[in-house]
Amino acid sequence: MTALRTPADATGVEAAPLSSYVNGYWSRVRGGEMGALPAILGLIVLCTVFSIVRPAFLTAGNFANLLPQGAAVTVIAMGLVFVLLLGEIDLSAGYTSGVCAAILALALSDYDLPWYLAILAALVTGTVVGFVLGSLVAKVGIPSFVVTLAAFLAFQGVVLLLIKGGTIISIQDPVILAIGNKNVPPVLGWVLFALGVGAYAAVQLLRIRGRQRRGLTHDPLSLVLIRVGALAVLGGWAVYVLNQERSRNPAIVSLKGVPIVVPIIVALLVILTFVLKRTGYGLHIYAVGGNREAARRAGINTDRIRISAFVVCSTMAAVGGIIAASRANSVDANTGGSNVLLYAVGAAVIGGTSLFGGKGRILDAVLGGAVVAVIDNGMGLMGFSSGVRFIVTGSVLLLAAGVDALSRRRAATAGLR
């Protein structure tokens, strides 16, 4: 046990060397705090295997397909992270997205509303659903598992009623269709990329400066540069690849640029991460998930926090539903159904969000969503039936949940939890 670093003797404190961060990270991993490591390793392994077995996997065209394919699930998973952080679950998120997509389609087709009002209607529907579910859990005290299981069934019925049995409502609005199907112009893609990397670097450097000025410990500059560099290289490579011409017949129709869903997901990632990590509200979510009684004694309105998490989750499900409807050009009885919910829960858990509450990040949903999308896409390319794909995805979810449970045990023995 060494002495606490007080501000008085902190004047001499410089950033710890990079090696100590690497060591610290490694000891956390060994102690069971694996974070996003399994997802990243899984992503690398999966991409390598699929690229070798099916060279078509590694084409710009497939890459551009992969992103919108996984977008809806990823967005729903982002919302689920809020609920999972509390140690709750929302099994109805998939069909909530279906209901909201049906509302969107009806607003566009039956009521001829402009696209922005239709989107608003879908989002408000999600918010109301989340408020009702959250109130039933927090105020009435029904376990979230049961509440959302009931909603899962009921919303399936709501979707059927909304689309009047087995019909398909097609979507014609060009703006809505663009969300899931169109690309950002290549130049704008580069501009957004430059802005994003620049903003990230600026935020990181400003934080270091601020902490330095107050004599607090901070991340070493080298680590920040590595992070910014990695983001620039990966992002730049992705933008470059996506900006390649991927139309078979460029003379007839040109197809290039970053899919529009990518900046949407990045924006949601940044906003929700900011909410969770930098605001009092986000901290209270973690606190309620970590120890509800302690949060209550600290004067936090735990009921309001729990309701709000369900509201965020269902609203994000609505966003996912909008993306799914746009991608499919239509809404039918299956929108948000079948595997959507399990893929979303799987995405969050594979990314490293704990099912036991108190641990998780929005980035987990994105990384896990990528894993799920790669499995689905790669196995589809390899010609496996959807039966096999379900089994494999189910196994991966089970594996991720197992890693979560085991790492908790490991952390307990390592004295970390």
Binding site: G210, R278, G415
Partner: protein, 270 residues
């Protein structure tokens, strides 16, 4: 440790509290002084926790008078107590394992700047508070609480209570789950709180702890305050007698009252 003649910071007179038919606190007088550690002792079910919960506003009391710094006050809820500067460190600590020391210390009362958490300021204040308590056992204030030992957690819980310029800190069995060395650390911290001018109430079953740090000892017996004495005026044995029998020599309940109390006290469970 100057005498008990100074004006008490918090004074309770004639406090009654019952749960239904069960009279848990019976005409309790209790006073605590700034700069002193007042030990609150009593057997299981004597009413220690109930008394503390009445002070902290978690329970309402049936009748009785509260005076804080000489002024009569009423406490309707935990908020009122916190506003007066009364902080309670519960036995079960109430820390979030998944948050770090700074986040736990400021939980529910975070510093914000333009709606964003002001982490650097909170980190500095937390470090200063720990330094003012001469806590040298935690490596970094950014450590997760999950990685702390029992004594370190207790230290964080206590530091959390004193962060808010509190005037009264009530510690519910702070050493119950600790080893020898950690107990010594926490007791040292308790003593330092009083030396810094706070009024400290220490609830404990351990007579060694009580005599090690307290200036005054208040003994509860079946819901009655049987003695409030200077720690130097009594012996270990006398306090044990007060706890178990309600009287010791000329201290505590008069003999006939003692018998009556013992007779109608079957059912006190708090």
């Amino acid at each position: 440790m100057n005498g008990t003649d100074q004006r008490p910071l918090l004074e309770l007179r004639g406090l009654y509290k019952s749960f239904g038919a069960v009279q848990v606190l019976h005409d309790v007088d209790f006073s605590i002084n700034p700069g002193q550690v007042t030990a609150l002792v009593g057997d299981n079910g004597a009413g220690k926790s109930t008394l503390v919960k009445c002070i902290s506003g978690i329970y309402s009391h049936d009748s009785g008078e509260f005076r804080f710094e000489g002024r009569p006050i009423t406490i309707h809820g935990p908020r009122d107590a916190a506003d007066l500067g009364i902080e309670i460190v519960y036995q079960d600590l109430a820390l979030c394992d998944n948050l770090d020391i700074v986040q736990n210390m400021f939980l529910g009362r975070e510093r914000r700047r333009n709606a964003v958490l002001d982490d650097p300021t909170m980190e500095q204040m937390a470090a200063e508070t720990l330094a003012s308590l001469a806590v040298r056992t935690v490596k970094s204030v950014r450590q997760q609480v999950a990685s702390l030992s029992g004594g370190q957690r207790q230290t964080v819980a206590i530091a959390k209570a004193v962060l808010w310029n509190s005037k009264v800190v009530i510690l519910d069995e702070p050493t119950a789950a600790l080893g020898v060395a950690q107990t010594a650390q926490v007791l040292e911290l308790v003593r330092r709180l009083a030396d810094n001018g706070l009024a400290v109430v220490l609830i404990s079953h351990n007579m060694n702890d009580v005599f090690a740090v307290s200036d005054r000892i208040a003994a509860l017996y079946l819901g009655r305050m049987v003695a409030q004495v200077k720690a130097t005026d009594v012996t270990h044995g006398q306090i044990v007698e007060l706890i178990t029998a309600g009287r010791s020599g000329d201290l505590g309940l008069p003999p006939q009252a003692e018998a009556a109390v013992a007779m109608d006290a079957n059912g006190v469970d708090q």
